[in-house]
Amino acid sequence: MPDGPLGLDPVVWAVLRLVIAVALAIFVVLNGALVQIYLERKIQALIQDRVGPIHTGPFGLLQTIADALKLIGKEDIRARVTDKWFFLAAPLIVFSPMLASFAVLPFAPGLVGADLDIGLLYLTTLGSMTVLGIVIAGWASNNKYSLIGGLRSAGQLVSYEVPQILSLVTVVLVTGSLSMVAITESQPGLLVNLLVLPLAFVTYLIAALAETNRNPFDLPEAESELVAGFLTEYSGMRWGVFFVAEYGEVTVVSSIMTTLWLGGWHGPGVDALPVLGVLWFTLKTYAIVLAFMWIRATLPRLRIDQLMSFCWKGLIPATLANIVVTAVLLLAFPGTLLPVAVANWAMLGLFLAAIPWAQRRRLAATRRRLRVDVRRAAPETI
């Protein structure tokens, strides 16, 4: 065990290091949440042709802090018929795995919490523990809307875990390691995995949108649906914990995408000054976060059956085909990634073309089933 600074006892230093690491992670997550809430409101405002918050602080920068202070000051209401311990435990079960995910993300060369051999598997495992928290939240609220919202959300999360994991498998096939640091180091300079595996990037993006309950998959917490789903009975700072957990999860998922597909901390100047890696990592992560927010401001919400059928009948076959084709090509042409890249871009084109084609077929089938004469009823849709 390493000796602590100033000659601290090794055991004391180990515990102190753990405390400092957790405090740092919470600090990063909370600040990230503040930044993201502000960015979200500004970006949504820009896309919706309005200005967003401008009164509190210059350019509305203090708006999030004002919101946070308001949330903290709210009265802690808890209905008497809710299951007390489960009600209190649910936000923690949703928050903790997200916090633990920061341990394996490589921010810069040498700056990683723990270089686990099974880094990606660890992240996947933590992602699957949030489902439990949501089911408990829905159950503990003792409220039909919460229960249905919680079970629906759990169903959505569990379904979309499959394409998420399958997309990660493709990257592991190409890289040959589950360790996040090894994956980052296998993408030097511009030879970034995005050029080789774009379909996996797109499918992971879609699955991540569903895993973090973001638009267009935010049915469980949409304002116009089922009151607020499993969050109905949570008010004040308890809701704030769920909220911060969601933004933290968005950050974690974006960090995973950065590490796997965009080259992690690689960028000009990192060889000379390793700390610059943090800057590049953050920029790339926030580029993806901005993409999430852009998608949120643009796309309409999917219904639960549309979302499920897209997952099971669209994403999973696509990711499975991706794995099979990538594996076959990697074995057939060892040493070069060019065939894999070509095949992947071709499959991406197919995937993107198949979505409107499948939609048109389903619409035609519905029309046939209802025997609607489109020319008379809705001529503008032809």
């Binding site: 489960f86 099974i118 489902v131 439990l132 089911v135 408990i136 159950w139 229960l147 569990v158 589950l178």
Partner: protein, 168 residues
């Protein structure tokens, strides 16, 4: 370092056995389901203590992430009222307890006589040997396991499907 390992083992062992007892003896089913999840987590901790990190990750992923959720679904969809005449069947409980204790005692005594082997093995995780074994020696059972999972999935869906003719 020895003390820390022993302390962690002690805490995990108390967690496993205590939560296991609670699952059997607690009245509320939802509490029992969550205590079962706690047992699974402590078991994953034991795997980590043994150095089997991949198996620990799988344990949390499969048991806590999926099986607990399934059991909670099962609990939520089968609510039952009070069953006053259930007391009639209570008399078999002490007999069952006695039988289990009678079988457990010699097995426990046998378990405590195992010796720690003096084999020194090199450390390292279990990811590489595990993968080489599964996809090398045990590839056929792996494929059979996937067929089993497919059959279980289809079977579960068919069992729970409502008859569509009644709805029309």
């Amino acid at each position: 370092m020895d003390v820390v390992g022993l302390l962690i083992f002690g805490a995990l062992a108390i967690g496993i056995v205590g939560a296991g007892l609670a699952v059997v003896f607690v009245d509320r089913i939802t509490a029992a389901a969550l205590l079962m999840a706690f047992t699974f987590l402590c078991n994953a901790g034991m795997f980590l203590l043994l150095g089997a990190e991949t198996i620990a990750a799988f344990q949390v992923l499969i048991y806590v992430g999926a099986i607990t959720v399934l059991i909670l679904y099962g609990v939520m969809f089968t609510p039952q009222g009070d069953r006053p005449y259930a007391l009639f069947f209570q008399k078999q409980t002490p007999l069952a307890g006695f039988l289990v204790a009678a079988v457990a005692a010699p097995v426990l005594a046998l378990a405590l006589t195992f010796r720690d082997p003096g084999i020194a093995r090199e450390g390292g995780g279990d990811l590489q040997p595990l993968i080489t074994s599964i996809f090398g020696d045990y590839a056929v059972p792996f494929e059979l396991a996937s067929v089993l999972l497919l059959a279980a999935m289809v079977g579960a869906i068919v069992l729970v499907k409502r008859d569509e003719e009644d709805a029309k």
